[in-house]
């Protein structure tokens, strides 16, 4: 088992830059992931999430800056390779081979042999719920089973840091929940997990900390609760009765001069203020004076969607 430096961050990226020709995939990223953390890397497709993960694994080398994993310089470093497990976005398995033969191959890549390897194979197959199907060719598996096996191949050597690159793409809700259970158990066992996704609800459900990445820049990184409190804690949703003559944005601003922002959302508006109870009172009062029945007026549960919108000015695109 590879050693980790005492007190070191699981991942410490400093001014990390990666360019492919004239295209900048990552620009001066500073990333800190604490040991034992369940870290969500949130961003749209093409934002730079996979590139960042490939820099941590050593698949890619940075154009600038540095990255350390548990105090070891990442790159072509066997010490780091033994500490890290990588689950790629695509299912990267040998379809014509059985699950057992696939796992045996990846186990041997980490120098697992003999009894130790057999024990790990049994444990991991049990963990991902594929013991019964171990001797069947992977090509006969469902999408969800392949995803579970994809994870299994990365945890055979018991990595301290597990990198999951969009591990639920294309799986049904049942399989997704099963994968979530696996990830939670790994976290309970002390594995540091970096979970990349463009599904905000997944990151909200699983992660303690979140890094928001867009156009190759890490825009914000903090505890999930702190991010929500800071960027998405003061919104109300209001829906006015239809009136072609009314400028709704202007009406909101006039009704509450302390309004910080207002964005159209569906049939209504998301309005933000320093004190949202005061905002709601002001809107109710203004509607009452105009004898107007508000169709909806409610507090908005803080979400990463709001955080992302606030930080990037865009909704999370799925391109």
């Amino acid at each position: 088992m590879a050693a980790e430096s005492a007190g070191a961050m699981a991942i410490a990226g400093l001014e990390l830059t990666k360019r492919f020709g004239h295209t900048t995939a990552l620009e001066k990223v500073r990333l800190q992931v604490a040991p034992g953390d369940f870290f969500g890397l949130l961003g749209p497709n093409g934002a730079g999430k996979s590139t960042l993960m490939k820099l941590v694994t050593g698949i890619l080398e940075p154009t600038g800056g540095s990255i350390e994993v548990f105090g070891h310089k990442a790159g072509r470093n066997d010490e780091v390779r033994r500490l890290v497990g990588y689950v790629p976005q695509d299912v990267a398995l040998y379809e014509s081979l059985t699950a057992m033969h696939n796992l045996q191959f990846f186990g041997e890549m980490y120098s697992l042999r003999g009894r130790t390897l057999r024990k790990r194979l049994e444990e991991v197959l049990e963990f991902v719920g594929l013991t019964e199907k171990a001797d069947e060719a992977v090509k006969t598996y469902s999408g969800g089973m392949k995803r579970r096996l994809n994870v299994a191949a990365a945890i055979l050597h018991r990595p301290k840091l597990l990198l999951l690159d969009e591990p639920t793409v294309g799986v049904d809700p049942h399989s997704r929940n099963r994968l979530f259970e696996m990830f939670r158990r790994l976290r309970q066992e002390g594995t540091t997990i970096v979970y990349s996704s463009h599904y905000m609800e997944e990151v909200e459900e699983l992660c303690d900390s979140v890094g928001i990445i867009d156009h190759g820049r890490l825009i914000e990184q903090d505890r999930l609760a702190d991010l929500l409190a800071r960027y998405a804690g003061n919104q109300v949703y209001v829906e006015l009765p239809p009136d072609a003559a009314r400028d709704e944005g202007r009406w909101l601003a006039q009704s509450y001069p302390g309004l910080l922002s207002a964005h159209q959302a569906g049939a209504g508006w998301l309005a933000e203020a320093g004190d949202r109870l005061e905002l709601m009172q002001a809107l109710l009062k203004a509607a009452s004076e105009e004898k107007m029945d508000l169709r909806r007026l409610e507090l908005v549960k803080p979400s990463l969607e709001s955080v992302f919108l606030k930080l990037t000015g865009e909704t999370l695109r799925d391109e």
Binding site: T57, I59, Y86, P88, A92, Y94, F105, M109, S111, A153
Partner: protein
């Protein structure tokens, strides 16, 4: 770790049944097809003769032509114009027309023209047939040599029995199809790269040279098994004599190393799977034609015979034929082994230098 990659690759080879089809079934089918095509009696150039002279001499001439091996002669009962029309339409390939006055002309020592009517598909046969008829006609014109004494005898140089056609077909198609293993290598490596497995493997402690050796060596073994099966097939079914087993093994090993190393090299050089496939098809089929795998090399034009010397298929074929025809020329076999091994080493060297670029080219 090399062993793990090696084992995995062998398992993949065995499980993908398509490999068996074009590495074993196809060459066997070709061997059987061509063996029976060229080994059957009754095959040869079909010649239709119209005897417009109806003389004893013209019948003697026809009798002499019939005795020549390689000709299937039939006498046409239709008239000259009808036969000419059938030749023009491609219904008949060749027709020999003996003109009226053939015997009288020869008796008076006058020039006599035998016509060889050729159809649209007779280009390859015209030269030899014309030449044979001309020589035969000259003998008939010589009053001192009775025409019925003309005989054509075919004998094998060296005095032994004529070699079996299997000694051309079995090594020819074995060498040709061994190079198809390049396609297996190409598909396997591109699948690993484009499917993300190579990238995943790069996150493990496995070294690049271990990966390459692990991918290469099982293919060498597969090629050796292929050669063994095809020669065993030729020996037991097509009655091919195998000669010196030790040298046969060494030459086969050199061939397996060479074909697989070239497969690794071309895979690393190809910009994509389709481009690689095209390069390999060209090399495999073009090389087979130019190196004398389909027909004896001396039937090819002189320039192509010279070009053949740069092809590994040529060296393999020369070595195998020296062994199978038991010529006693060990030098040819050892030269073949040396050339194939040298090409393999150069190819592996090039593949190794290109691997990094291949691995990151996705």
């Amino acid at each position: 770790m090399i062993l793990a990659v090696w084992l995995k690759e062998l398992r993949k080879l065995v499980r993908e049944r398509g490999n068996f089809v074009y590495l074993l079934v196809m060459p066997m089918a070709f061997m059987i097809l061509f063996y029976f095509l060229f080994n059957q009696s009754g095959t040869g150039i079909k010649l239709n003769i119209v005897d417009a002279d109806h003389s004893a001499l013209s019948q003697q001439f026809i009798g002499a032509v019939k005795k020549i091996p390689g000709f299937q002669v039939s006498e046409a009962t239709d008239g000259i114009s009808q036969v000419r029309q059938e030749v023009a339409q491609g219904k008949l390939n060749l027709a020999v027309i003996i003109p009226q006055g053939f015997a009288a002309g020869l008796a008076q020592r006058q020039p006599v023209n035998i016509t060889l009517a050729t159809g649209p598909n007779a280009a390859q046969s015209t030269g030899p047939v014309s030449s044979v008829l001309e020589r035969l006609g000259q003998r008939f014109a010589d009053p001192n040599r009775p025409p019925d004494l003309v005989q054509v005898k075919v004998e094998q140089a060296g005095g032994g029995p004529a070699p079996s056609i299997a000694s051309q077909i079995v090594p020819g198609y074995t060498v040709m199809f061994v190079f198809y293993i390049m396609i297996t290598i190409l598909r396997s490596m591109f699948k690993e790269r484009d499917g993300g497995i190579l990238e995943r493997v790069k996150t493990t402690p496995l070294k690049a040279y271990q990966y390459m050796l692990g991918m290469w060596l099982p293919q060498v073994l597969a090629a050796m098994v292929q050669i063994f099966v095809l020669f065993a097939f030729g020996h037991w079914l097509l009655k091919l004599e195998l000669g010196n087993y030790g040298l046969l093994f060494l030459l086969s090993l050199a061939l397996a190393l060479c074909a697989t190393a070239l497969g690794m090299m071309l895979t690393m050089l190809a910009k994509g799977e389709n481009q690689g496939m095209a390069m390999m098809q060209f090399f495999t089929l073009g090389g087979a034609a130019m190196a004398g795998l389909w027909m004896p090399l001396d039937m090819l034009p002189a320039t192509m015979q010279k070009i053949a010397h740069i092809l590994p298929q040529y060296w393999a074929m020369q070595g195998y034929q020296a062994l199978l025809l038991n010529t006693g020329d060990r030098q040819v076999v050892w030269t073949g082994i040396g050339m194939l091994t040298a090409i393999a080493l150069v190819a592996v060297g090039i593949a190794a230098t290109r691997f990094k670029q291949f691995a990151r080219a996705e």
